[in-house]
């Protein structure tokens, strides 16, 4: 247990002192929160109802999808994981610790956004705080697991950026973060069902913000949790200690299974 705590402590500190991780964990999401809060609430007053969940999801995606994969990739490519292996660090810890670390950073950013949104921009506060915290945690777990999976399967730095952006940009546009999901054309609304952020936003709206939900928000939360567990499990399954050793290499296409809950919702939704 001491080893796990030491590992987590180191990982959490790195998220604060490494400049690129500090940027993606805190500076970029909070700068965007300030910018969107100032601009969007001015031109679209209904955004005040959305600002807290929208910016929390935005922050979670920045931290997990843009910030987390690259350190995972570079640790594998530079031999750090090999060093860990020959010193007895279990693979499960290499997956688990950064995911918990990312969740911790996301929760801190969520707390800052929640604390400042109302006094700074008149943002609506959650009506059900318990469910709000639950959704924050599940959303953070979902994004962190997805970010870890991207880091595990990406072949190079360009791959991490590309795979991260595949989720990041459409999520910002289509998941109801910047505009209500109901105003999207039906085809794009269907595409949005493939994005975890859509389910996170729906769960926030329906379970904690007192806003109308497009589908059953509890189903959204369960889908989000199922996607989290799948992405996490696949990260463990597909983990490689290094890129040079072809032993036991598994096809990265298995990672597509992480989309299964969202695909099911797309089909039955």
């Amino acid at each position: 247990m001491t080893a796990f705590i030491n590992h987590f402590t180191y990982d959490f500190r790195t998220g604060l002192r490494d400049k690129s991780m500090l940027l993606m964990n805190y500076l970029f999401p909070l700068a965007c929160f300030a910018m969107f809060g100032a601009i969007m609430t001015g031109i679209n007053p209904t955004f005040k109802q959305q600002i807290i969940p929208a910016m929390i999801i935005f922050g979670a995606m920045s931290s997990a999808l843009l910030g987390l994969p690259n350190p995972v990739l570079s640790s594998r490519e530079s031999g750090i994981f090999r060093s860990f292996k020959i010193n007895g660090v279990p693979a499960i810890n290499i997956i688990t610790v950064p995911v918990i670390g990312a969740i911790a950073h996301i929760v801190l950013v969520a707390a800052i956004i929640t604390a400042l949104a109302n006094p700074l921009f008149g943002g609506a506060l959650p009506l059900d705080w318990v469910q709000f915290v639950l959704i924050v945690l599940v959303t953070a777990f979902n994004m962190a697991s997805l970010g870890m999976l991207i880091g595990v399967i990406a072949p190079n730095g360009r791959g991490t950026v590309l795979l991260g952006q595949v989720f990041y940009i459409p999520s910002v546009m289509l998941s109801g973060l910047m505009m209500p999901a109901g105003v999207l054309p039906p085809a794009l609304g269907r595409v949005a069902l493939l994005l975890p952020a859509t389910y996170a936003m729906n769960a926030f709206n329906g379970l904690s913000m007192g806003q109308p939900a497009s589908t059953d928000p509890w189903v959204s939360l369960w889908v989000l949790l199922a996607g989290s567990l799948l992405a996490f499990g696949l990260s463990v399954f597909l983990f490689r200690w290094d890129s040079q050793n072809a032993d036991k290499k598994r096809s990265p296409l298995f990672a597509l299974l992480a989309l299964l809950p969202y695909l099911v919702m797309l089909v039955i939704g």
Binding site: A3, T14, S78, S83, K85, I86, G88, W241
Partner: protein
Amino acid sequence: MEENVIEVKNFRKTYGSFVAVDDISFEVRRGEIFGLLGPNGAGKTSTLESLEGLRQPDGGTLSILGVDPSREMGKLVKVIGVQLQASGLPASMTPVEAVNFFCSYHGVAPRYDLLERLGLKEKKAEQFSGLSTGQQRRLALALAIAHNPQVLFLDEPTAGLDVPSRLELHDMMRELQKAGTTIILATHDMAEAEKMAHRVAIMLKGKIAATGTPAQLTATGEGLTKISVSSEQAILNSNGIIFPGVNKHLVTDEYAVYYSTNAGQSVSAILEYLKARNDKLIDLRVERPSLEERFLEITQDNQ
């Protein structure tokens, strides 16, 4: 020093159709410093990494203190220490964090004393990327020995180190060896191998081309001792006299150079020759064959 700590039997490692290591066998005895030498691509790294449990053998058996590295990683990490490569630690990790991190995973108390011993006390809070190459390698050594492993793998341990740091590292290797640690030393530095290793194996093209003590290996070559002589009148430079035991002679700069199979006999004859002709000796150098020369002979023979 008789018990075998490492046993490699008919070990083979391939990458696709490329055979990196081809059916090699050797053993390393307890408390011995064993040098693994060879040019790039000889198969040293594949052998080391397979022994360290990082790669799966394609044939043969490997054993370290009875542990199969390919199947028993949990047991293996308790008995081996591996000096990490230069990039083997996260850039932002400090020496203190690294000691905490690795010691806790090995289940031992943090060995901060090693940071002091290896001259890293002042740098204990510096991030790994801010350390010099020498400091990074010393930290890697500290981490490798922090859990008192019975077998220590050192891969180019002195690369990038200045002279005092090299000497310090050599002292530490001797100290560890005297305490019973078995050391596998992979190096390109023949002088280091000759100075430190009890036995060496020279690998070429995936095979072991030669094995034995440095003295045994140098003796099995041409075994010629180099005698360089410089005198005031330089009478040796102008004539082609061949002294007893000498089978090669050449002149370089101000020196007459002889290669002898019997250095004592040759030197006596050279001195008598100079004395008889009233030529005064300025300099006399006798160099026995080095491991490096033997290594070059072996590599040339195999090309």
